[in-house]
């Protein structure tokens, strides 16, 4: 199998590590070779963060380069727009419509671009945009944005729902299990 590439992008603190952990658990049960590259340290402090998930028969590089991503899952709208160059021809962007202002926008040094979903679509990019924050709140916590988006991503893979649920069980603490399962299903149906 040719290596598949998933980029998870967002703002430091939005829970990309948990999302990549979930994917890793799932893919491991299928016997794939896997590499997941994470960001730790300074960039985690509210900066732009990117996690690479790659799987296939044999995976060498731990990172995804420009033009290689089959999927970009973005926890925040501006971050989806930042990484479009990394999308492969025919690839899909799954993005949250939530906007989080970066410091240059907060201080007034820059503008948060308007109508990014439409602009990405008119650039011939395949974009699936959902209000993951609303769905996460519906599930019981704004922090579940990551799992809502994983739920939506799951529509693109032929893994059984039970396999995803199993991976969620192995990745989140027991007391948040129901919340996360609900968030996942809301994202999958959105």
């Amino acid at each position: 199998m040719k290596t598949k590439n998933i980029m998870i992008v967002g703002v430091g603190g939005q829970g990309s590590l948990l999302a990549s952990k979930l994917l890793g658990r799932l893919l491991l049960t299928r016997g794939y070779d896997i590499k997941v590259s994470e960001v730790h340290g300074m960039s985690q402090r509210g900066g732009s963060v990117v996690t690479y998930v790659r799987f296939g028969d044999k995976v060498y590089s731990p990172v995804i380069d420009k033009g290689e991503a089959d999927y970009i899952v973005s926890f925040e709208l501006l971050e989806a727009a930042r990484w479009t160059e990394y999308l492969k021809k025919g690839g899909t962007i799954v993005t949250n419509t939530q906007q989080i202002n970066p410091m240059p926008v907060i201080t007034g040094a820059a503008q948060y671009p308007a109508e990014l979903v439409e602009k990405m679509q008119s650039a011939q990019l395949k974009v699936e945009a959902i209000d993951a924050l609303k769905l996460a709140n519906e599930a019981g916590s704004a922090k579940a944005v990551n799992i809502v988006l994983m739920g939506h991503l799951s529509r693109h893979f032929d893994f059984e729902l039970t396999e995803w649920m199993d991976a969620i069980e192995k990745s989140v603490p027991a007391k948040f299990l129901d919340l996360n399962k609900k968030a996942f299903l809301l994202g999958r149906e959105a």
Binding site: G47, E68, E85, P102
Partner: protein
Amino acid sequence: MKTLMLGNEAVARGLYEAGCDFVSSYPGTPSTEITEAIAKYKEVYAEWAPNEKVAMEAAFGACLAGRRSFCGMKHVGLNVAADPLFTIAYTGVNAGMVIGVADDAGMHSSQNEQDSRHYARAAKIPMLEPADSAEALHFAKLAYELSETFDTPVLLKMCTRVSHSQSVVELGERIEARKTYEKNPQKYIMMPGNAKKRHPFVEERTKKLTEWAENCEINRLEEGRDHAVGIITSSTAYQYVKEVLGDTYPVLKLGMIFPMPEKKIRDFAASVEKLIVVEELDSFIEAHCKNMGLTVSGKDIFPCIDEFSQNLVADKLQIEKDAAGIPLDEAIPARPPVMCAGCPHRGLFYTLAKNKITALGDIGCYTLGAVPPLGALDTTICMGASVSGLHGFTKALKGAADGKAVAVIGDSTFMHSGITGLVNVAYNESNATVIIVDNSITGMTGHQQNPTTGFNLKGDPATKIDLETLCRAVGIRRVRVVDPYDLKQTEDAIKEELAANEPSVIISRRPCALLKYVKHNKPVSIDAAKCVGCKMCMKIGCPAISMEGGKAMIDTTLCTGCNVCTQLCKIGAMKKGEEA
């Protein structure tokens, strides 16, 4: 059993399986998780030391006692530990000793991009360089065998992309490998008479290790279809090369980066038409090839700056690859890291910037005080440099800087190497004001305990070093504590201490807002009818405050109710966040 592990977790697993009994480290991205992971194995004693030199010396003591030991650090940490490193190279070991060092090509979270491989050559210590988690686990175990067989500490060199990438590993069982200590002055007392006898041993050891490198399985040849080019590589550069080339050209993959084999490389060079070395950062393998008189390409094609990627390797080797995707024709604002909402450092930095005080900074979350709109820092060099730097700054200006400059250093960094600078301030009497930003944790690396927090690496209660007492003990008479959430108290203290005609320490104390035990207030609220849009509250660079339609707005999911902003609102449009 097969499982996914971070490179750092895989090193920890390797240490565990090899029967390592003692670990002492200082946290530093990207090395931190090795020690955090090993602490979870109850069979292994693990600790955070105050700094890397102490950690390495402790690990040496443990290996002397007959227990396999480890110390871990980031690349710049190895500079701190370089003193014991060069002499432990002479004494060798009793039980095995492994030193983990993690480089940060691309400077994801570092102040420089130094290449630690030079230390292996300089200190004459073998260095292994894994390229993924499976190798990290394997090499950690192998490192102990080499350490004991060749009587040497062994360097295990990681880098960000190996440390922080998860890949599949196979787990094994733990073995026991203990020895007893026997007094041996000729081996362990490195006074000139003995050291003179040990130096030839070191040179002979490197020769023996070079022979080992000729035949070991970790320096492996991977055949290719086309011998027009042959590539020598290691670490992540190997992964990028294989990603791009597959089995097109033969590849000599080096797992031991010092000492390197000679015959193996010569034979490889003779089997190909053109020899290319692909390595991140400096010329190291390439320099070795050139020393052997081989014609080789390397840094004439590849940069010595930043990390590599598959596209870079393809481009430099002129290999066709998928085109880049579509960039959006839109100005995308940058998203730099910022101080968190509720960060106790914010109030302090606002006060320093407001009073236009020169602030020599240090290493930690508070380096973010340099970022606009605060822009409150003047320097960042290395651990502890704020205090010693301020001493030089004030002394050199013979009083002209008095009252205008401070040092800003975190609690963990102060314990690491700020205290020696403060001793100098007291002893040589500079009129320096040192601000210790005590957030009760080592923040930037992800909340590690340190000697001032009252807890140890395993989370158990531990002796808590009292910063006030410590500062007084070295001779600072003016020591006071402020709450950085209280802007007036903070400003008054800074002004008074700067005005005083003797050295002083201000401890700006408030635990990190991200600590689990820290209770947040309800969020600040804004009376839109009163807000005139003066943007005073925007001066502190809080990610929870923004302007919407000319009025300040609070992101209630981020706001912790620290109420620093409410103290800036002169017209009373901001309502304090009360206790939740």
